[in-house]
Every structure is written in C-alpha cells, then in structure tokens.
C-alpha cells in the first residue's frame, strides 16, 4: 500500500545515534499515544504515564513479557506539541551496546511500534509545523529527497538482480490474481473457463520470498559485520590464530584494545565480510578476582557472538562439543603436540598456516551466507529491514491465502490476501494499481459478455 508511507501519527521507533558500540545510545519513539504505549516497557510506568513534558526519569527498561530488566536507562518525555516531532514522544538514553540497543528496539516493536522510515521523524516535525518559515525551503528539499530515496530503494539502490527477482515473483502473483479477478468479474455462467487456482505457483512464491527474506541476514552481515569470538584455554593457540587472521587480512580497519585481561578485539575482513574478531581471556579456574571477572565477561561475549571458534587445548572436549555444536573447533598442531585432530574439529598448523583456508571456508558456511559468487560479490540479497518486513508481510499474506484456499474459502476472500502480497512487493519495487490487473486480464483473455 503506498499510503502507508505517509501515515503521520502511527507509533514509530528508531535509533537516533549511529549503529555501533558507544558509551551511550539514544532511541527515539514518536506518535499519538506513544508514551502510553511504551510505558509497560519501563520499570516505573507511572512516571511515564503521569510525567510532564520535558522531564527526565531514571529507571530500568524491561521486557513486559517477563518483567526482566534489559538495561538501565534515562528517558525524556515530550508531550505534543513539544519535542522534535511535535507529537508525544520519548528519547531513551541507554548503554551503547549493540545487544541492548537491539533488545530495546525489539521490545518496543513487540508492543506496537514500527521501524521509522528514512526521514520520517523529520517529516513529522515538518508536518507538525515544528520548523520555522525560514527553514521551509530547505525542509521541502529534504523531504522530497528522503521520500524519493525511499522510492528508489525500488529502482536504483537495489541491485538490478533483486529488482528483477522481486518483479518476477510479482508478475507470477499478478497473473494468478488476474485470473481470479477475471473469474470474479464475470458471472459463473458467463466465463467458460473456471480454472483451479494455481496453488503450486503460490507455494513457489512463498518459498522464493522466504528465501529472499532470509538473505537479510547475509545482507546485514555485509553491511553491519559479524562478531566472531576466539575461545579456549590459554596456550591452546588462540593468539596464534588471531594473528593469523590479522596477517591474512590486508584490510584491517582498526585495532581496538579492551581491557587486556578481558579480550582483544579487531576489525578484519574474511572473504569481504567485515568481522569484529575477539580474542577472549582463557578459560581457566582462577582465584584471581579480576581475572574471574574477565572470564565472566568472556562468557557473556561468547553468548553475544555470531560465531565462536574454540581452540582445543589438552582438555576433554566431548561434553563441550555436545553442549555447543555450533562452535567451530580447531585443533592446533604444534611442536609440542603430536597426533591427529579429534573428530569434529579442524586441524590447523598456525606456524605454516596450513588448514587456515578450511577454517575460513567453514566460517563462511557457518554464517549461512548465501549467493556469494567467486568474486565475493553478493547479488540477490536484501540489506534493509524495511525490505525484510515487506517480504515477511508478503509471505504472511500468501500463507493466509493458501490457508483460505485449502479450507475451501471462495476466491473473493482469497484475492485480497494475494493483493496484499503484491502491494507489499510493489512497495519494494514501485507501484501497481488495480488498472494493471484489468490490463492483464483483458490483454490475455477473451470475455463473453
């Protein structure tokens, strides 16, 4: 639906600071009744419900599902017509960890907020007359630029492959819908062809859209990077592997040093994928309180990582392998160690680098990155949440259409679901109108009456 873009008062949420690790991050929500809507996500909802405009409150941000705290935050309340957008809105100052930012965004969406589109807060600010007349010209320019950008997500920013891929699926659906509409437009005794609805194509479309939506992870990996942690006991060869990664990679972005006791991290690139690599503190029973704290943080880090590479030491790892089959296990050959790599692990000679390329391959395969050709270029892939959400909506609509068909619902009930999917795809690729459907019908069919 192209109308959706211009809704100016439904509740939206967005991260107002750059997506990345920092001391603090600001998350902003806006929209009619948005303060009331967000209140259950805070440990003291009354402070929000009753709080005056321009007041700041300190409390926990919680998951309303189980009341578990997610982060300590300060939250600023703005009530219409104040604040940047002129609507009821909140600015939530949280810790700048990507994990808590992500959780807070997800929680807010679970209570009814949706992702703001590019420029949407600004658009609201203009719509609400929050900017003065001298700014008006500049404002219009920005607005049209922003929305044009949204439109050209369809036409320009997308790679040609994605556009034609979606367009192809859309055409298939349009054909199915045209056939349904043709039957609906003429009485049952007028049109001789009373065809079965093409369920196979619907299933095919559902699969294709699902697969495309799944590339969001890949797309995101390319645009935002992945977190890989090296774990294992001290002296297992973590640092050697870490250095091997650094040596292999000629496009090191930067070196960031955490507390040495905790971990070392570095931006590297594996097969074109930006990777934030962490060398964690070793696992070792320790009485040293500081080191214990370091290990606790290391464990936390492992949980937050997209992938963990575990360097096997001398310990028996069979129970660990059972508990964490998702880890990549590496057995490092060295002068002091003989024998073969245990089953389920990859051998590496950190001195010669032998086995390293297999590790890289394994990393790529574990990240479930699809559609990478030899040049490392990725093609049919999505990288925006908006696209993913539209694809998800399309899949839900088609699922509902299939369900309706299978439960024997009539075609006029099925059609709006297919139309909704086409609208969702249309929002990605451009516009379609119901006139298009008529054109498809009448160029392809003869009608009796």
């Amino acid at each position: 639906m192209k109308y959706a873009y211009y809704d100016t008062d439904d509740p939206i949420v967005a991260l107002a600071t750059p997506w990345g690790e920092s001391a603090l991050a600001v998350i902003r929500v806006s929209g009619t009744a948005s303060v009331d809507m967000a209140a259950p996500c805070f440990s003291r909802p009354d402070r929000l419900l009753k709080g005056d405009s321009h007041t700041i409150h300190y409390m926990n941000f919680i998951d309303p599902a189980d009341n578990m705290p997610i982060d300590e935050v300060t939250v600023a309340i703005y009530r219409a017509p104040h604040g940047f957008t002129g609507q009821d809105s909140l600015e939530i100052f949280c810790h700048g960890s990507l994990v808590s930012i992500k959780k807070i965004l997800e929680t807010l969406k679970s209570v009814g907020f949706r992702d703001a589109r590019p420029g949407e807060f600004t658009l609201r600010a203009f719509t609400q007359g929050k900017l003065d007349l001298t700014q008006a010209e500049a404002v219009q320019e920005i607005v049209s630029a922003k929305s044009r950008q949204a439109h050209s997500l369809a036409l320009h920013r997308l790679s040609g492959g994605l556009f034609s891929h979606i367009d192809m699926i859309k055409r298939d659906l349009l054909l199915i819908l045209s056939r349904i509409e043709l039957q609906l437009d003429y009485a049952e005794d007028e049109v001789v062809l009373d065809e079965e609805i093409d369920e196979i194509s619907l299933h095919k479309a559902i699969r294709a859209l699902g697969e495309l939506a799944a590339t969001y992870r890949t797309g995101k990996i390319f645009s935002q990077g992945v977190k890989i942690a090296l774990a294992g006991p001290t002296n297992a060869g973590k640092s050697s592997l870490f250095n091997l990664f650094l040596k292999e990679d000629r496009s090191i972005v930067s070196d960031i040093h955490g507390t040495t006791r905790d971990y070392i991290e570095s931006w590297i690139s594996i097969k074109g994928i930006p990777v934030r690599l962490y060398d964690t503190a070793g696992f070792r029973a320790s009485v040293d309180v500081i080191e214990e704290e370091g290990i606790r943080r290391s464990i936390q880090l492992l949980e937050d990582s997209d992938l963990v590479i575990y360097m096997i030491g001398t310990e028996d790892i069979s129970s660990l392998m059972e508990e964490h089959p998702e880890y990549i296990y590496i057995w490092n050959k060295s002068d002091i160690r003989e024998g073969n790599a245990p089953e389920g692990s990859l051998p590496l000679c950190s001195l010669t680098g032998e086995g390293f390329s297999d590790i890289e391959k394994e990393i790529i395969s574990r990240l479930e990155i699809t559609n990478i050709d030899n040049s490392g270029e990725h093609e049919i892939m999505i990288d925006s949440l908006r696209q993913k959400e539209l694809l998800d909506r399309g899949v839900i609509s088609l699922d509902s259409a299939v369900e309706a068909i299978e439960s024997g619902m009539p075609l006029d009930v099925v059609a709006p679901d297919i139309q909704d999917c086409i609208d969702a795809l249309g929002e990605i690729t451009g516009e379609i109108t119901s006139a298009d459907i008529l054109d498809t019908i009448f160029s392809g069919f003869c009608v009796g009456k």
């Binding site: 211009y6 607005v143 929305s147 009456k449």
Partner: protein, 602 residues
C-alpha cells in the same frame, strides 16, 4: 420559465437527477428530446449484474428510483455467483422494457415539483462573468433559466449511427441526435471526445429453434432490489444460451473490411469489456466460440435480444452470421445491430461532486462522462443531483468514498483518472469489495441520504429494525451452544451453513431470511472482513486529509512541474485522491502533505 434546476435528458441518469432534485424540494424541469423515450433500455433489457446489482441497491439506499423501477417490471431474477463468495454475488433481473420505460415516465409525471418538456437543448446560458451556468437554450429558441443545470445526454450528443456503410445522425436507431450542444460546449472551452458503443440485433421469438439452445431459467424466488420491498411475486420468463461457431467467425473474417470500425469511419474508442462480435473475432482468433444469451425484451413482444453479438457490420453480413448460429438458423431480424458514436466530456474536468470545475452550476452525469451502463449512469445522476441540491443550500457535498460504495469507486475513478473508453464497473475496480456487498448497501448509505433529506424516515426505521434483528440473531447464535461450542463457532467452519443450524435453533425462523443470510456471511468471513476494515482505516487517513479547492500549487517550491500540472488539472479534494492521479510521484504527495499539515496549523 425560471426553475431551481434543469435536467437535460431523460435517460437513467436524468431520471435519478430529476427525481432527487424535486424530492429535495427544488423546482425542477426536465427537458428531453422525446417524452416517449424516457427511461428506455436502449441495449440490454436487464438491470443489475456483478457490481452493477450492488450499485442499483446503493442507489435505492440513497433514495433513488432504479431499484423500484426494476422491482416493478422484472420478468426474471437471478442471484449471480451463488456458488462463489459473498463479495461477488449480485442480483440481476431481466426487465419488461416497455413497462420499465412507461413506469419511469409515469413516476416522473407524478413527482411533485417536477415538470417535463419535450425539446432539444442546443446551448447553455452563462452569467456575465462567464463562469456560471444560469440556463439553457433549445433548438426552437426557447430560453429557460435555472440555478443549476444537470447534463445527461447519453449517446445523443452529436450521435452517429453506423451499420456497415450506412451512417446516420442518430442517438438511437430511429431517433435523431442532439446537434449543436457538443459544439457549444467545445466553444465554451470544455474538452470533449468521441466514444463508441454498440448493440446487437433483435430477432423474432417464433422464428427461433429453442430445442437447439440451452435454457436458462430464473431463480425460483424473485428478490427485490429495493430495501423498501419485501417480496415480488410474478411469473418468471426464461432466457436461452447458444454459441457462435467457426462458420460464424469465418463470415466475419471475410467481411471485416466492410466494418466501419475497421474501415476507420468510427474514431471513438469502444468498450474493451463489452466488445462487438467482430472485435472478439479479431482480438481472440483462438477462441472457437463465443457465448450468446437470448433474452426476452418484455412481455407481449416477440422481440428477443442477442446478448453478446453486438455488431456494426452491414445488414446482409449480420443476417448471414446470425443464421450460422445454432438455433438462429431461421431467425427473423426485426431490428438490426448497430454502433453509435457520440460526444463525451472528459470527466477529469469535474469535481467529485460531478460539478464542472470551469462552470459553476453545471453538473454532468451518466454516459456523457464516458461511462457505459444504466446503473453507472443512474448512480451518477443521483450524486450530481444531491450535490447540486447541497450547493444550492450552501451545505457540504456528498462524496462517497471508495471504501463505502461502488458509486464512490466509479466517480473517483472518473474524475481522478478519466477514461478513454466506455467505463464499466467491475468488482475488481473496488479495493475493499468485502465491504461493498449488495445486502449491506442500506447499512452503508441510507443514513447519509436521510441526513441530506432525500431518504424517508421509514427507510431509516427499516434500517434500524434490520440492524436490531441482526444483533438479535448474532446474540442467539452466541448464547446457544452445541457440543460445548457456540453456534457462532460452528458456523465459522467452511462446510457449515446456517440452514443446517435452523433445525437446532428454530428461533431463527422468526427472522427475515435476508437478515439471517447476512449474519451468516458476517460470521463466516469475519476474519477477512476485519482485515479489510484495517486496510480501509489505513486508506481513509489520506482521504481525510482535505485539500482546499483554492489551493495554490504554484506557491509550492518542492513539487515537480509534472505533478504540479496534474494537480492543477484534477484539483483533487484530498491527499488520497491526489495519490491516485496516474503518474504522480510519491515524493510530491509527501510534499503536499507537509504543506497541508503546516497550513492546518496556521
């Protein structure tokens, strides 16, 4: 003679316009070329059909006359698409065209405050500013003054008839065209175009061999279109079905060069949706046959209508191809088929009220706006009259939304996008058709018309009674349980029908079966209807963002020139309407919203 309102034309748009204006207490004069031709069914002797039947019931709910006219004169009734879903079922009736036509005239004659006069309007009178229509001039030089004029000329404005090489100035076979008005409107600066439509031959009943055709009887129960009527008891006549064949198509192929359509004499674009047989043969060469409905034109007449084979080929060719069809071998042609080409007004020159943007007080409705079909015409006539009345009283116009009526879809499409071929309504034109069921037209529209003063208080009481009945039935099904579940839950299962429940819940028998049927649909499709309502809410937000009529698009910096020109030409009344103008960029809609948002805040 000075009146409040003049209606030009006595077709289906003119009838509704004249009746509505006079019922709203405005002194009204209808000027028509022939009093005998009022309400004539020029083409198909039938009213209703898919989406059209819905429109007839919408017209009735709004206080129009069409439902009543067909209820009084139907000779066969069918609910189409019974096997299909709720949104696409629709009533259709064959009419006794003579009774229809006579009753239409009689209804107009008996209407208080309405005068009828036979003459041909050739020009409009403008006030001194040249921007307001204040009357009309007729062929015989008579001048009539009025505050508003509703133009409903149908196919008569510079109408031209084609049968093969034969061309004549006519609006309908045997009836003269209305000459001069089209020229006058062009001189005033309006954009007019040419359109074409056609009608098939009528054949003599006793010359047909019905044994070779398939009979198509009506439903056993005739159901009224009008919400004011409970039942219709009248014998039902049958129709028949036959098909063209390869020989028929060969005859047409061999003579296609003699068609005025393909010979280039007709410049107007014909309807894609209701094409002539020669169109079908040329455009769909793979089809080896096309369906023909053989329909009675009325009681006490031998004339039968050959629905599906309209043609403007020469008479000898028409005769040949008709005789090649099974059951029609010996058919005696009584009236020949023909094409008619006429002037229409580009409807994007109108507001959604159907008032002309350029000339205040001039309303245009019906086929003149490029539509096809009696129902489309009648719906426009009614809305034009209501809005002419509202403007005379200085009240807010009645603009039906796309989500509340097919008439709303129709008018929005016409004034926003225009049309370059005769516009026929289809269910697929409506985005929210689950909401536009024919049985709910009264729930959607009656109150609006009552508030305007057109619909009667009885109609409102009837509606309230119905709503109460529906609630009672729902309550009954909610409270009564079977195997631990309410009947509502049972009814949601696809295979379950309310008829199966009646034995267990005999109280249902005390309600009007129409109400019971509606409850069944409401419950069965509840989830889908709710989803549709959410879509409607999303849609309405942009509809509710109104654009002032005097809005100065030139003043806005951010708009693209292309969109600016389109906005200035269409003059959309809401952001929603603006977004439907073809070729307008999303970004320009955003800019528009920004500016409107600012204006609202002052």
């Amino acid at each position: 003679m000075d009146v409040d309102a003049i209606v030009i034309g006595g077709g289906h748009a003119g009838i509704e316009a004249a009746l509505a204006l006079s019922r709203l207490q405005f002194s009204t004069l209808m000027i028509t070329q022939s009093l005998d031709a009022i309400g004539r069914l020029s083409c198909n002797p039938a009213i209703g059909g898919l989406s059209k039947g819905n429109m007839v019931r919408e017209i009735d709910a709004l206080g129009g006359e069409m439902g009543n006219l067909i209820d009084e004169t139907m000779i066969q009734f069918r609910i189409l698409n019974r096997r299909r879903g709720p949104a696409v079922q629709a009533p259709r009736a064959q009419a006794d065209k003579f009774s229809y036509n006579r009753l239409a005239k009689e209804t107009l004659e008996h209407q208080k405050g309405l005068s009828l006069f036979q003459d041909t309007v050739v020009d409009l009178i403008l006030d001194s500013s040249g921007t307001r229509v204040i009357g009309v001039v007729t062929e015989r030089g008579r001048r009539f003054h009025a505050k508003v004029v509703v133009l409903t000329t149908g196919t008569f404005m510079d109408g031209k008839i084609f049968i093969g090489e034969y061309v004549a100035s006519s609006g309908r076979l045997g009836e003269p065209a209305a000459l001069g008005l089209g020229t006058a409107l062009r001189r005033m600066g309006l954009t007019l175009g040419r359109m074409k439509t056609g009608t098939p031959a009528r054949v003599k009943r006793s010359s047909l061999d019905f044994d070779k055709m398939e009979i198509q009887p009506g439903d056993s129960l005739m159901q009224p279109f009008s919400f004011s009527r409970e039942k219709i008891e009248r014998p039902s006549l049958s129709c028949w079905i036959t098909f063209t064949n390869e020989k028929t198509h060969q005859i047409i192929q061999d003579n296609i060069h003699r068609s005025p359509l393909y010979g280039g004499q007709i410049v107007g674009l014909g309807p894609r949706y209701c094409p002539s047989l020669e169109d079908k043969v040329v455009r769909f060469p793979d089809r080896d046959r096309h369906q023909i409905f053989v329909e009675p034109e009325g009681i006490g007449t031998e004339e039968m209508y050959l629905n599906g084979i309209s043609s403007s080929l020469p008479e000898d060719v028409q005769e040949d191809f008709i005789h090649s069809i099974e059951g029609l071998e010996e058919a005696e042609i009584m009236r020949t088929g023909y094409a008619v080409e006429y002037d229409y007004i580009d409807p994007t020159q109108l507001y959604p009220t159907l008032e002309c943007k350029q000339f205040k007080g001039l309303y245009v409705a019906g086929q003149t706006n490029g539509t096809s079909g009696y129902e489309e015409a009648a719906g426009q006539g009614l809305i034009a009259a209501i809005n002419a009345g509202q403007s005379l009283l200085g009240k807010a116009p009645l603009i039906l939304s796309r989500s509340e009526a097919y008439i709303g879809v129709l008018i929005d499409d016409l004034v926003t996008k225009g049309t370059n071929e005769p516009y026929r309504m289809f269910t697929s034109r409506a985005e929210y058709r689950l909401n536009l069921r024919h049985d709910s037209a009264d729930q959607r529209l009656t109150r609006k018309s009552y508030e305007i003063g057109l619909q009667s208080s009885e109609a409102l009481e009837r509606l309230e009674y119905k709503l109460k009945g529906i609630e009672e039935i729902k309550e009954l099904l909610r409270v009564k349980k079977h195997e631990g579940k309410s009947w509502i839950q049972h009814l949601k299962r696809p295979e379950m029908t309310i008829d199966q429940i009646v034995d267990s819940v005999p109280e249902l028998n005390s309600f009007d079966p129409v109400y019971v049927n509606q409850v069944e649909l409401d419950i069965k499709y509840e989830g889908y209807i709710k989803r549709q309502e959410q879509q409607v809410k999303r849609f309405e937000r942009m509809e509710f963002m109104k654009i002032p009529l005097d809005f100065d698009y030139d003043e806005i910096e951010g708009l693209s020139n292309e969109s600016k020109e389109k906005f200035k030409s269409v003059r959309p009344m809401s952001v929603g309407q603006a977004s439907r103008i073809s070729g307008v960029r999303n970004s320009d809609i955003a800019v528009l919203m920004v500016i409107l948002g600012r204006k609202k805040r002052g």
